[in-house]
Symmetry: C2
Subunit: 303 residues, 2 copies
């Protein structure tokens, strides 16, 4: 009886494709290059054809390999699910959690909560990544990222995803000291030239719904779109005009500036809901719960 495909063979093959050469793949796997060669050869024998073209550099998956790759990866992902489910049964929290957040949340939330989380759960290894909403959701669906911390509304399809609401925060106007009254209507808002985030930021799209796009994008021939709220605020400081920031960013300001440089917006639209998003099949429920609790500590820093 010819033996069957094993997990290691598939793992090695994935590593080989990722590394691009036998030698470096073997190195990352902490085995010798011949050992890797043998397992790949065995896998190829079982598959009944070549899987990598050794001639090209980096080594390339053959057409056969490309057809089988989804199934090969599926096997590995399901093994990982199994092991996640096992870890989820243990009382001691441990494991790996790959977290990603959108750029308008990352700089405010993560530095605050991560130290506490790492402290509370020393055996959870957390990987952090910053991605725009669209790419983040794709990464979750491809199981490259476990959980995303992001903001509703989301235009992307939510199939296969679970949404866990964290809290809602208001959007506010950031302006020169005393330049606006303490609360603006949407109509009043539309009169101001507004600095926008670069395309792909979900907050940009939301802000565009609040402001007059004609006024927003350009001012005095300048068309500056930044990827960070900090930059936009510095722009306002030097050039005047306004930008829209969420509470998270406002909380970073000094007590005085929070009142003199920001104003409320009197509209239900001027808020966003912070949520956790993860694939429905994700098994790390206890890690997720730990993250949720840690995240909520942002609201009550002294608890």
């Amino acid at each position: 009886m010819s033996s069957a495909i094993t997990r290691v063979q598939v793992q090695y093959f994935e590593a080989l494709l990722k590394a691009g050469s036998f030698a470096t793949a073997a190195h990352t796997l902490h085995i010798s290059q011949p050992a890797l060669t043998m397992q790949i050869q065995r896998l190829e024998a079982l598959v009944g054809g070549a899987l990598v073209n050794r001639a090209s550099r980096p080594v390339q998956a053959t057409p056969l390999a490309q057809k089988l790759l989804p199934h090969l990866l599926e096997v590995l992902r399901r093994f990982e699910d199994l092991e996640d489910a096992i870890a989820d049964q243990q009382e001691h929290l441990k494991g790996h959690l790959h977290i990603a957040t959108i750029p308008t949340i990352a700089p405010y939330l993560l530095p605050t909560i991560l130290p506490k989380l790492v402290d509370a759960h020393p055996d959870i290894q957390m990987d952090i990544e910053e991605l725009p909403t669209e790419q983040l959701l794709e990464a979750i669906l491809q199981e490259r990222v476990d959980v995303g911390i992001m903001a509703l509304p989301i235009s992307h399809s939510l199939q296969h995803l679970d949404i866990l609401p964290l809290w809602t925060e208001r959007l506010r106007v950031y302006h020169l000291e005393g330049a606006c009254q303490s609360a603006l209507t949407l109509d009043a808002l539309k009169k101001w030239p507004t600095y926008l985030l670069a395309q792909g930021h979900c907050l940009r799209d939301q802000v565009l719904g609040l402001c007059d796009p004609a006024v927003s994008a350009q001012r005095q021939g300048m068309h500056y779109q930044s990827g960070s709220l900090e930059t936009l605020m510095r722009l306002v400081d030097h050039q005047g005009g306004i930008t829209i920031i969420p509470d998270m960013a406002r909380n970073q300001l000094s007590q005085v500036h929070q009142t003199t440089k920001t104003s409320a917006i009197t509209s239900e639209l001027a808020q966003r809901q912070i949520v956790m998003v993860y694939k429905q099949t994700l098994q790390k429920k206890r890690l997720l719960e730990a993250l949720r609790l840690g995240t909520l500590s942002y609201l009550s820093p002294h608890a």
Copy 2:
């Protein structure tokens, strides 16, 4: 570094649960009982808890095992998908195809086409099973059965399933010789006492839509519901009345009886579509195609 869960461990565990004892499971796996014991112990060590209660007979999955079982089985099913996909790439057709049909198709279709199929593809191992529609669909969803040959309409949800139409056949009246004219309207049909298949047969439900239920079920204090069309026809032969049979069953009759003992029904409702049903994720596309071609040979037996 502690080693990881392997495929064989999970395979052995599945076999253990299926067999109910270490000794018999080891026997079906063609290994010794201590070998099985060792692998299960290793798996339990990796999982961090007992998986089977050895005291009870048959051995029972612990609560922990029950929680993990879906993930364990998922791993095995995805390995099988991988291997199916591999077999699907080879030019020579081989593999395992688990076919199931409903009872009103099985006795007419399979004996006709199976010999041809087995002849044409000697390396395809076919397992046949007979199941009512509901259970058949569940078996397909659980991946216990690869493909079902059944009849539309289906009331069950078709989520995750693909439907491949084969052909449409008419339903006809079976009666005593010369007892009816050659074609009956639905109204004429409702006047006859009709023998019905037992509950759970999809043809029964369809027939109930054609006949008068009040007349159908009971006659002369008799309430006979059979699981086979053959029995119903013998009942008609001895007791009079009618029953509804599909073309498949009619084709089994002698040329003479096909005209003297059966009548057409002048209604668009008096037909059913024969289809192949399989899970969307099924990889054995070429085996499926072979089955489809073989099945269609039922229509043109001399081809």
